[in-house]
């Protein structure tokens, strides 16, 4: 193709995909290929498409995504480790007209914040929870999380997770689906274009549910932490396919 033809294509009227206007100019601090970046983008696109930028309040966690507030141009609060659901509860109860969501890693949500998320889900708070399950504590250098797979090598399970010593991988999402306060519980991923589209639809549905006052909408995204897993981003996606989905099957778990 000649230069001339390229300039024919690269014109405003032919634009089909660009960075969401809700993503700030700050360069994300995430490692190359990190799933957090993909999910941030999807949240920004959903909020932009629903036109709720001024009505949305996010709660960022402790974990690699602690700085989520630097990247999506909405209102944010930052919670202590695992306490995002409590903060979201307070904010949504004080501002029932707002769209309130937490963004939490698996260490934040399933480990130190296990009680918080259980009770927020049991109370049926009208919030959205975006749960990034990368089967590890990414931020602190790759220690075992409750979600770490059996046999998976981490900094604190150097010989692989052993059920006798470390317990079993926790399917927290299935547990939360048992609670009457959750209305929509789904598990998605974000590696392929098709998966990215599906996850975006799930996030959109979760935000729309907020208006129906049916309780917690919970979107798990199974993702990679290529740094913690000590793999390239491409190999991490392969490893996720080969190992994660057997324990964490994709799809809707509850939708009422």
């Amino acid at each position: 193709m000649s230069r001339m033809e390229l300039t024919d294509i690269i014109k405003e009227e032919n634009l089909v995909l660009k960075k969401s206007a809700l993503l700030t100019d700050n360069v994300m601090h995430y490692c190359p290929g990190c799933t957090h970046g993909v999910v941030h983008k999807l949240i920004a696109e959903v909020i932009e498409e629903l036109g709720i930028q001024e009505q949305t309040i996010g709660i960022s966690p402790v974990g690699c995504s602690v700085f989520a507030y630097n990247y999506i141009d909405i209102d944010w609060a930052e919670a202590a480790h695992g306490r995002a659901p409590a903060l979201a509860t307070a904010i949504r109860r004080l501002h029932p007209e707002k769209y309130v969501f937490t963004y939490q890693g698996d260490g934040d949500l399933a480990s130190i914040g296990c009680a918080e998320i259980m009770h927020a889900c049991n109370r049926g708070e009208n919030i959205v929870v975006i749960f990034i399950n990368n089967a590890i504590y990414g931020m602190t250098g790759g220690q075992m999380a409750p979600t770490t797979l059996l046999g998976q090598v981490t900094a604190t399970t150097p010989y692989g997770r052993d059920a006798k010593l470390n317990g079993f991988p926790m399917k927290i999402t299935e547990l939360l689906a048992q609670l009457d306060g959750t209305c929509y519980v789904t598990r998605q991923t974000a590696d392929t274009p098709a998966a990215v589209r599906k996850t975006k639809n799930a996030i959109k549905k979760a935000f729309q549910n907020t208006r129906l006052d049916k309780g917690v909408s919970f979107v798990e995204v199974v993702g990679t932490c290529n740094s913690g897993w000590k793999m390239t981003p491409v190999d991490a996606n392969k490893w996720m396919h080969e190992h994660m989905f057997e324990k964490y099957p994709l799809g809707d778990i509850k939708d009422i």
Partner: protein, 75 residues
């Protein structure tokens, strides 16, 4: 012949060279440049621009939203 021709524009200074777009592209348009950007990352570029169909797969999977995709119907 493809009904659509496409092209991508990469914000090369903000690309982190993760290669996720490279493997997502169904027509093998993208490769990482042997050259590096200011951060030292080998950035994505259109090695085979004539093969691009504007499907946007690369942009969908890019964690850093640095790919813009253009698509034009072939007359």
């Amino acid at each position: 012949m493809a009904k659509f021709r496409g092209a991508i524009v990469v914000d090369t200074e903000h690309c982190k060279g993760c290669s996720l777009c490279v493997v997502a592209c169904p027509t093998h348009v993208i490769e990482l440049n042997p050259d590096v950007n200011g951060k030292g990352y080998h950035y994505a570029y259109m090695k085979n621009p004539e093969a691009c169909i504007g499907c946007a797969s690369c942009g969908l999977v890019c964690p850093d939203s640095v790919i813009s995709v253009y698509k034009k119907a072939v007359e």
